[in-house]
């Protein structure tokens, strides 16, 4: 499986480079291809992966142009398992369990995402103090608003992959950005997206060689700067480039969230049974399966 993926990645990058060099392709089409490629990479990362992340959130301030927390950050630690499904592996299933803080330990969230825009995202929440699983129904389309990821500044919209056909892309600039060559791509939501997004515009700084994000900026519906994401500690894990340190500053709420991937393993076999409600409630089953996967942590 790993070999096949790598081969297909190499082949598609070669094809893409060919296409990008072709003068016949318009700027917009190039941008679309780049974003699709990047999205595909992201899907590869989440296909059979286990991560332990530390999610820290705080109010920030500025001193000598430096951004820092002005209060002790609120820290949450969680483990997540995900796997891609469907013909093009564009559907996904994922489960996340909170390990810290103590008062929230054991809270779990199971989510099924579908590429088909007509199919609702399905999710189940488990509150350990209540001992109950609840299926969450929060409407579709414009009724499903982006929600916070474990109480941080990241929203489900910031984390989701796919949906590249719901934006109009344009390369604004390309060249060296720090020590990397990048494309700066602008994404404007199409009407289908506009009704459910919080953003009017997004800017991506995409690494030309690795197809990873180095930076992103989002603008609110009034066109004002909203969020800034920066991607650091980009490492090659199992032939896939992964940013292990992502910081988001929300300029409007004046808060930042940092997501550190403390441990990760990708491209591991996750049994389908694990991505069901059983994992939320059956502590023994969950621990046994996770323990087996943790052996591959990097």
């Amino acid at each position: 499986m790993k070999k096949l993926t790598l081969l297909s990645t190499a082949a598609s990058i070669a094809l893409l480079n060919l296409a990008l060099n072709s003068a016949a392709l318009a700027n917009e089409e190039n941008a679309q291809l780049i974003m699709e490629k990047m999205d595909e990479q992201q899907r590869l990362v989440s296909d059979g992966s286990l991560t332990r992340s530390q999610l820290s959130t705080c109010k920030f301030g500025q001193k000598d142009k430096q951004i820092n927390c002005v209060e002790t950050p609120r820290v949450k630690i969680l483990e997540s398992v995900s796997k891609q499904y469907g013909p093009d592996k564009k559907d996904s299933k994922g489960v996340s369990i909170l390990l810290e803080p103590a008062s929230e330990r054991g809270i779990g969230m199971l989510t099924y995402n579908y590429d088909d825009p007509n199919r609702d995202t399905e999710s189940w929440l488990y509150l350990s103090a209540l001992g109950k699983v609840k299926r969450m129904a929060s409407g579709t389309g414009e009724d499903s608003e982006p929600v916070s990821v474990f109480g941080s500044e990241f929203t489900t919209e910031d984390m989701e992959s796919g949906n590249t056909n719901e934006y109009d892309y344009k390369i604004l600039q390309q060249g060296p950005f720090g020590d990397r060559e990048v494309w700066v791509i602008e994404a404007i939501p199409k009407p289908v997206r506009a009704v459910k997004t919080e953003y009017s515009k997004l800017l991506y700084w995409v690494d030309k060689e690795r197809y990873t994000l180095l930076k992103a900026q989002t603008y609110d519906k009034r066109g004002k700067p909203y969020k800034q994401l920066t991607f650091k500690n980009i490492e090659k894990i199992n032939e896939l480039w992964i940013a292990r340190d992502v910081t988001l500053i929300n300029l409007q709420s004046q808060r930042l969230s940092n997501m550190k991937t403390e441990a990760i393993t990708t491209n591991v076999a996750v049994e389908d049974e694990f991505l069901t409600q059983r994992t939320l409630t059956d502590f023994a089953y969950r621990e046994k399966t996770l323990e087996a996967l943790r052996k591959y942590f990097q």
Binding site: G61, Q62, K65, K134, V147, Q173, V195, Q217, R222
Partner: protein, 855 residues
Amino acid sequence: MQKLLDRLNDLFEQVPTAVRPYRWLITLIFVGISILMATGISKHFTINMAPEAWYPKGADTIVIRDAYRRLFGSDDNVYIVYQPKSGDVFSEQALRDIAELHQDLEDASLQAEPNELSRIIKIDSLYNARYQISDGDTLISKKLIGADFPNSAEEREQRRAIAITQDSFSRMFFSNDFRYGGISLKTNIGAVPKQTLVTDNTQSTDLLQDDAFGFGLEIDSPLEVEANAETNDVEFIGVQLDEYMHFMAALHEVIDQDKYSNFDFYLVGNSVTMEFIMNGVFEAAGLILMMVLLIVILLWALFRSLSAVLWSLLVVIFAGFWAIGAGAWLGVSYTTMMTLTVMLVLAVGIASCVHILSAYTLFCRQGADHQGAMTKAYRKTGLPILLTSLTTAVGMLSLTLTDMPVIQVFGATSAMAVIFSFILIFTILPCALDLWHPKLRGSQQTKQQGKKPLIDLQPLMIWIGDFTERRSKTIVISYLVIFIAMCIGAINLKIDSNSAMMAREETPLRQSLKIVDEEMMGGMSLEVLTRFGSADALKDPRVLKAADELQQHIAANYADKVIKTFSLANVVKDTNSVLNNNDEQYRVIPDDPRLTAQLLYMFNNANPTDRRETVNDDYSSSHISIMLRNGGTYEYTAFFKELKQDMLRIYEPLRADYPNMRVELTGTFNLAVELMDHIAWTQLKSFSFVLIIITVLMIISLGSPQAGAISMIPNILPGIFTFGLMGWLGIPLDGDTLIVAPIIIGIAVDDTIHFLTHYRASWIEHGDVGIAVRQTLSEVGQAVAFTSLVLGLGFAILIFASYLGLAKPGLFGSLAILVALLSDLLFLPALMHWLKPNMGRDKVLKLANEQAAAS
């Protein structure tokens, strides 16, 4: 003392002759100062109409309010009530209209700036109200309407049924009978930080140049805590009254579109009240212009010469202009109270000019030539004008002792204006009158000697002289009876300010308040800010239970004022019930802290924006919102006091665990009530203080304690009469009326000073009450009547204001001026006839005899 008074009289007599050779120099100095003041105004004049201007810097009330805004944003919201023609907010048409209106408002608020409606940061209505219900194992959290429009009647009834189950929806989004609906617009008014940390770099042509974090900032190790780093929300930009007006105009543009003709709208909220007050300010400016016009007409009618109009206005306008200019040079920031300074200088300045002109024309009519009449007029009126200017200026200066900057500025500027007016009367006015003066002829004079006066009060004054002698006891006793009756009335007088009720009954604001109070969630809101100084305090079941207890206590004890309350406790109780299949038994705060933490976790995940509006990020601070019916300071000051005691009683047991706990009352309405009440009491105190100061000044200037004591009777009579009448009629005394009160007392005092100074001089000279009264009535009575006529009618114009804060002072002000006039013309002469007070005459005569013997 008497010597000094005599010397002053001699000095004033010489003024017209003394200034004559220097008239060009005086004119030059006058023009020079005017240019200087104009420069000050053009360079340094600032006007601050923000409500914060009323508080001293660092006032607790503002500090707490800003702390609230830093945590939870602005509480300065607009609430739109709509009444669909179909009579049911769940009818198909009403739902379609509300969906469109909601979208329209949202689109309008999202337009690029400059955009007044970009102040709207959140819109809540039936369209997007998110309900939460449990259906078996499924937790449904959806928008009530949203994209899923209920097309059939059955679907609409189903939505209605869901809406009824949601505690927070009733009276917020629909009235109990579904005839009215509500849209809440959360704004950022008053919560926009003065400085922002970032600058947008999207204008930068080179996106690659910024290799740091972007938006001009860098981020190396963000999680390291730097407690001294600068945050965005140190101070907020103050909001001026006119900004509210522009915001409301933009809002009306959206809702007043033809397509929403199926709705009748009723708007409430601080912005709506502020818009109304601002309109009142414009109206006041218009009415003051009309007042000036009326004064112009009356002055012309009284003196039959434009010179009387022109020179009086010259004195008044330049006195005000100089005072404002001097303030601008001193770096003073003005408020709407500036209008009152203008009114004051208009009243005092015009009165002084009328006295001089009246005396001048009287002496001309008695046969004196221009120079002779000028000399006599300045001798007779100089001292009283000095005294009236002095008493008014001291009275105004006493306002600088209050703790409110706005009142201090008003006091200082008004005092300056009065002093400038005095200076101008003794410098530029004699020069101007030399140039051009009114010519009125006496009954024995020919047409060439002047015009016949249109109003000749001399016969009336003679009649009053006789009448008060004949009926002195009857008049004094009648006055005393009225005085006692009015004192009883004044005891019942309530001090009650209510800015929203300053609108007349038929105005949209009053109608809106009535509907919102009766049918929806009330026109006012209050916040209990709870800060525990310790992270996760709000997850503690005991803390949540305290909020719940306070809310239940409020609901049980203050149902006449409070319509609804809302806090984090409601969120926990509702979520607990929903997660337990809507079981009402679970609508409680659980005892298990882990469970409350997880219920709150769910709330945060589902809706971080709502969470942030209810509790801060580290769960150390929260607030309880209290929705109230509109009311005045009398009722609500007492309520706030009781509420503060309840807060203390319920929260104090938690202090052992949360030693840094602070539980405080705040919110725009709380601020307004506190401010209005404070203004009213401050004014009442300064008012009493001013009366004492004036009495002391009168005792000194009239040279006798007896004369001083007598002078106070006509001085306090207008006030007692007006307050007593208000008390009998059940009309409360409000802040606006109290602010105008010093002006009215000023006018009353001025006339009394003129009357008594003249009377005493004549009494000392002749030793005969009859002669003294008749001479005083002849020389001063007419001027007193003229000034009262001019100013009384001027104030009466304000009665037509739609802003009752202006109309009420207008009505009671003109009434007080009338009472003051009657006191001076009837009561004082009658009192003199009956009691024949010595007023220090014996002392003066003794002194004169001693001097004669010595020489």
